[in-house]
Amino acid sequence: MTAFSTLLYKELLRFWKVAFQTVLAPVITAMLYLLIFSHVLEERVQVYPGISYTTFLVPGLIMMSMLQNAFANSSSSLIQSKITGNIVFVLVAPLSYLEFFAAYMLASVIRGVVVGIGVGLVTVWFTELPLMHPVWLVFFTALSTGILAALGIIAGMWAEKFDQLAAFQNFLIMPLTFLSGVFYSIHSLPDFWQAASHWNPVFYMIDGFRWGFFGLSDIPPATSLLVVAVCFVAISGFTLLLLKRGYKLRH
């Protein structure tokens, strides 16, 4: 347990020591999104009856920030350790692949949540957010950030240079998060893109998370939770398999 808690502590310390970059910067970015989109669309768009566009936007922005930062934490930590070579300190230690996985995942989930809370606190000045189903929020937060943390571990293991990691982030993670209904309801999309959105697991994360606040969603929240849970199990299982084999970590 000490080995696991030490690795977790080290991962938390790692991002906390550069909190300007890892926490404050994404909060500011989310605030800028909110400023610009709410200024432009507040009077023109109303997705759910009785809910202003700014209010609609906030849960999606919180979830998007949490997801991107959960991914960034595990992926950047691993690739930095691999490239600088200090991953060896963890690899020679008597840590199991399960402890390795749990520490990297939990640290990433915590960073995601810290950023999410930061974004939530900043948005207090813009709108008042209802809180209809807080327990569901906890489930969606834990599972969704867990999925992105696991994807970050996979990307960190797979990438051999920062360029490859940037490709993973820019060509997979960013499109999935941006095209998931953060800024709109999928009902406003043409039929093809509505159908395509149902293949995007991030859509279910955002939609279910939003239901936790408003009690309103594009699809039933239980369906979203099921999809997210299945994705979590599948991606975590795949990550554990790679870690057990020492994929690109142990030769």
Binding site: Y9, T84, P94, S96, H251
Partner: protein, 296 residues
């Protein structure tokens, strides 16, 4: 009593390259053991398998009786490894680095031992500096300290003095020797053969993934019987004396027994020459190493 390190039929295949080609090796507890070989001989691959960084293709490796694959937790607790590359985590200070490394090995409160290591490696005044700000030599010392935080019975040092100053070498070897006297097994790879000759009781030489020599340092040194006399003469010796031209106008006489020296000096005098200066050279590990690697 189990061996500190036991390796049987160890093979490692990296795609087209066979880095280890059936290594058998046993290192006793408390030994100061040298692992020598040219670049690409397989030394680092062998160490990596022992440390769990690399999976063996075939064969078996044990640290203090614990299989490195099946019983990896106990085998890793028994081993402290100093890697060849100068690696560090730029987010932390030297002390934080050592506390974290202790934690990875399941040790929570380890400050007394950490202070002891820092002191013996001359790191106390640098303990709270960020790793990025330390010099190469200081970073190397922290790497050694990291390998020792969990007081492992077996310490493997993969070229620990590569590119470091004389001061660190002396400090480091003094400390490692004291650990060896306390019973720790030390395995050393180095390109500085004089270090291996001075420190190691036994030596294995590797070439192309095979052990080509394994013996005590004394026995290895005695394998080469040739002595050399480097002579400065006041003229050119006749060819029939068999002296070879050496550096700086000297002449080199190679002989097996010291009894051969006097007849040669007599022959030089008979040729009308005078010996102005003479230096005798004993064979060292470098000569033995070169000969073994060339002939194997």
């Amino acid at each position: 009593m189990s061996a500190a390190i036991r390796v049987q039929g160890l093979v490692k295949q990296f795609r087209q390259v066979r880095a280890l080609n059936g290594i058998d090796l046993e290192i006793k507890q408390g030994e100061f053991f040298g692992l020598l070989g040219p670049n690409g001989a397989g030394k680092t691959t062998l160490i990596s398998i022992l440390a769990g960084l690399t999976h063996a293709t075939h064969g078996k490796a044990e640290i203090m009786g614990f299989d490195v694959a099946r019983d990896y937790r106990r085998s890793r607790r028994a081993l402290g490894m100093v890697p060849q590359e100068l690696v560090y985590d730029p987010f932390f200070t030297a002390r934080e680095t050592l506390r974290l490394q202790s934690g990875y090995f399941g040790i929570r409160k380890n400050d007394d031992w950490i202070d002891h290591i820092l002191d013996h490696l001359g790191l106390t005044e640098h303990a709270d500096k960020n790793m990025r700000t330390l010099s190469g030599g200081m970073k190397r010392r922290v790497l050694v300290a990291q390998a020792l935080v969990h007081k492992p019975p077996v310490i493997v040092l993969d070229e620990p003095t590569a590119g470091v100053d004389v001061d660190l070498r002396q400090t480091l070897w003094e400390f490692i020797r004291s650990l060896n006297r306390e019973g720790h097994t030390v395995v050393l790879t180095t390109h500085y053969l004089e270090e291996a000759e001075t420190l190691c009781e036994r030596i294995a030489m590797l070439k192309q993934g095979r052990v080509v020599a394994l013996d005590s340092t004394r026995n290895l040194l005695s394998r080469r019987h040739e002595h050399q006399a480097c002579l400065t003469l006041d003229g050119i010796p006749p060819a029939e004396l068999g002296l070879k031209a050496g550096a700086g106008g000297t002449w080199v006489y190679v002989f097996q027994e010291y009894a051969q020296l006097e007849p040669m000096l007599t022959a030089i005098r008979k040729a009308g020459l005078t010996v102005q200066e003479m230096q005798l050279a004993e064979p060292d590990l470098e000569d033995v190493f070169t000969e073994i690697i060339r002939n194997s």
